[in-house]
């Protein structure tokens, strides 16, 4: 990124941090958490310990970070190297990202930037100018992306409360600041679980690794009475609703399943896993030493805020997570896709000079689709 772009982003971020201390707080058990941050065009600084909001705000003002992180884990010594921190426990966290949902709409709003010649196009496979395959993909998520991500959050939340006995008020949902949601679970029986155990939990939540026997199907002499009932709880119940469709079709569908045989049943399980499992990023949930984006901080992939969703169903990130100034600024924009921020439409721009609000300029510069004129 060019120097004047960085300067512009740093100025905008600094202003945000200065004016919005009210949105940025340290989490509970502050002194047991590890903090970290990144600056524009620079590496990660981590293994930092912070004692309160004041110290955090000071760090933000002094460093003007592009991204700020905090561990979901608690340690005895958060500022020592990883092997000496003495891990105690970690909140259960989930990342749901629109880019992992294989949505149809993606191709309409994904832009490729060639790493060789910087050409920008909507061509997904190779550069339309130099044919290189080294493309950096930038997506400007649309309403459909957000709605689909929300749907995954709802699925996750249901599994958490019904099967895993998590209390609804212990589930906190945040917009990630780019194209998805971060979900935190507090006070659960899973706080002290290690990475391997959490990996099993992710398989459970994603509906991975199910075997036909669990749903009553056997290799030899299958028995109708072992198949799940429509009303059952947990995965057997969800399976019934997805596969039978309705109570009255249960008997007919079971006959079909038995006729089609064991391996076809296994295939059915794999096919429905995408529909009934919650599409979380397993790596995030398994990682018990992660530093995760701090709520209230800005996401340097977009300039939007990672913000708590008060009313999740109505939440619209592109109006509620944009806090940067309205002041107009002139940029050279190269963004062949239209997008919406704060209920205003922008673009498409074809390598042209435009005057736009700061929040939009930051959004495009963060995605490397514009530069300060």
């Amino acid at each position: 990124m060019q120097e004047n772009d960085i300067k512009f982003l740093e100025d905008s971020f600094k202003k945000y941090y200065f004016e919005h201390f009210d949105l940025i707080h340290v989490p509970n058990r502050t002194s047991e958490r590890e903090f970290g941050f990144q600056k524009f065009n620079s590496g990660m600084t981590r293994h930092i310990s912070i004692k309160d909001d004041k110290e955090l705000h000071l760090l933000l003002m002094k460093n003007i970070p592009s991204d700020v992180y905090c561990s979901n884990a608690c340690y005895s010594f958060p500022d020592l190297p990883m092997s000496e921190k003495d891990w105690k426990e970690a909140d259960l966290i989930f990342d749901i990202d629109a880019k992992d949902l294989n949505l149809e709409c993606r191709k309409n709003h994904t832009i490729s930037k060639c790493n060789e010649c910087n050409e920008i196009s909507t061509n997904a496979i190779n550069c339309s100018k130099c044919n290189s395959i080294k493309l950096e993909k930038k997506s400007l998520p649309c309403k459909n992306c957000i709605d689909a991500s929300k749907n995954e959050v709802s699925k996750l939340s249901k599994i958490l409360t019904e099967d895993l006995d998590v209390q609804q008020n212990d589930i906190h949902v945040y917009f990630s600041g780019n194209e998805g949601f971060h979900v935190y679970v507090y006070n659960s029986q899973f706080q002290q679980l290690g990475s391997r155990e959490r990996s099993e939990l992710t398989d459970y939540i994603m509906f991975n690794g199910a075997i036909p026997e669990t749903f009553g199907m056997k290799k030899f002499k299958p028995n109708r009475s072992l198949f799940p009932d429509f009303e059952e709880k947990g995965w057997r119940g969800r399976f019934s609703k997805e596969v039978y469709g309705s109570k009255s079709k249960r008997s007919k569908i079971i006959s079909e399943l038995i006729t089609n045989g064991y391996s076809s049943f296994q295939k059915t399980l794999e096919d429905i896993s995408g529909k009934i499992g919650a599409k979380i990023d397993p790596n995030v949930t398994m990682d018990i030493h992660r530093i995760f984006r701090l709520p209230g901080s800005l996401n340097s992939k977009s300039g939007l805020t990672k913000i708590f969703c008060n009313d999740f169903t109505k939440f619209d990130p592109y109006t509620e997570a944009s806090f940067l100034s309205e002041n107009s600024i002139e940029v050279t924009a190269n963004c062949p896709v239209e997008f919406k921020l704060k209920n205003r439409k922008f673009g498409p721009y074809f390598n042209e000079k435009v005057s736009i609000p700061t929040y939009t300029a930051v959004y495009m510069i963060c995605k490397k689709l514009a530069t300060i004129s």
Binding site: S83, R196, F207, T214, G234
Partner: protein, 341 residues
């Protein structure tokens, strides 16, 4: 410490304090080596180890869970305690492990029976207490099942590789996992084995006792047949081949895939400089960052931690596993192509 009845010591002899038991019964170890009436117990102990080494479970004189006669109970306990003495004198760890596992499976049978006991509530309560005291697993009876918190279940089930033990294949409701008595006990098998073997390993080794030399020597030569050696074909497993293909095509390999590939090759003895060029085609390739990350994984920079290749289980979760029949139940890509003789 649990209060043990005669019956319970016979079923779960590892719960007893060995030295104290002998003292209470008025015996010394030396007597077993010399007294012709007691010598048969040393043979019984040897036999108990021999059966275990064969991978079988020792058949006791207990019928059902009652002793066939009063004298059988102490014989059960003595043969267990003497087996430990023989193992300690032989010093053969492979035998200790096999013995502990077989004894665990023997105890498992009794625990299961006690848990499922409907007529004698005290037996059931004793089994529940053994499981809680030894393994901190709190189980509760609910209808025909035993229920345990998911978190406790996971701590134990991750040691199993069979798919039926995956949480997804379990009856889960309101934070609890539902298990049959058999499954409840099976869940702690490994820990039971570890508990018994650590008790044996931590027991003091007595000086050689006259009359014990012969069985001890037999144990030493018995343990030799368990020595194995391995050969490797050198072929890469399908997950690694797939990752290399993706990179060769210039497509994006996710971070987890790069981690797998790099740690795999490092563990096969390749150097950072040999591995780095593989990533050249990645869309976001940056030589400096690649070298930094590889050195970090190898433990030559940063905290010095040497990262190891993820398990097959983890790779499955990350959608990086492309298992073929030749994978044959390995649990890590590193084991691919290794054959034991």
């Amino acid at each position: 410490m649990l209060a043990l009845g005669q019956d319970e010591i016979a079923k779960y002899p590892f719960l007893a304090d060995a030295g104290q038991y002998l003292k209470d019964k008025g015996f010394t170890l030396e007597q077993f080596g010399t007294d012709p009436d007691l010598k048969s117990l040393v043979e019984k102990a040897f036999n108990r180890i021999e059966v275990a080494a064969d991978g079988k479970i020792y058949h006791s004189d207990l019928i059902g869970d009652q002793a066939s006669n009063q004298a059988a109970l102490p014989r059960e306990v003595f043969s267990f305690l003497l087996a430990i003495v023989l193992l300690k004198l032989s010093g053969m760890t492979t035998l200790i492990k096999r013995f502990a596992l077989a004894e665990a499976r023997r105890a498992e049978k009794y625990l299961e029976k006690d848990l499922a006991n409907i007529s004698d509530e005290s037996k059931k309560q004793f089994a529940i207490r053994v499981i809680d005291d030894l393994f901190a697993v709190q189980i509760k009876k609910q209808d025909d099942f035993f229920v345990i918190p998911i978190s406790d279940y996971l701590r134990h089930s991750i040691n199993f590789h069979e798919r039926e033990w995956k949480l997804i294949n379990r009856h889960v409701e309101k934070g609890l996992v539902f298990l049959t008595p058999h499954e409840t006990v099976r869940l702690i098998r490994k820990e039971l084995g570890t508990y018994i073997s650590s008790k044996i390993i931590n027991a003091k080794t007595p000086p050689m006792i006259s009359g014990f030399e012969e069985p001890v020597n037999k144990l030493i030569s018995m343990s030799k047949k368990f020595a194995t050696f391995t050969v490797t074909t050198g072929e890469y497993p399908p997950c690694i081949k797939h990752a290399i293909e993706i990179l060769e095509k210039g497509e994006n390999l996710p971070h987890s895939g790069r981690f797998m590939l790099a740690t795999f090759l490092l563990s096969k003895g390749q150097s950072v400089e040999e591995i780095a060029p593989l990533f050249k085609n990645a869309p976001d390739y940056n030589e400096r960052i690649t070298l930094y990350q590889l050195n970090h994984l190898a433990g030559t920079s940063g905290s010095g931690t040497h990262y190891s290749c993820p398990s097959c289980e983890k790779l499955k979760t990350q959608n990086l596993c492309f298992a073929i029949p030749e994978c044959d139940n390995i649990i890590s890509p590193i084991q691919f192509g290794k054959k034991r003789f």
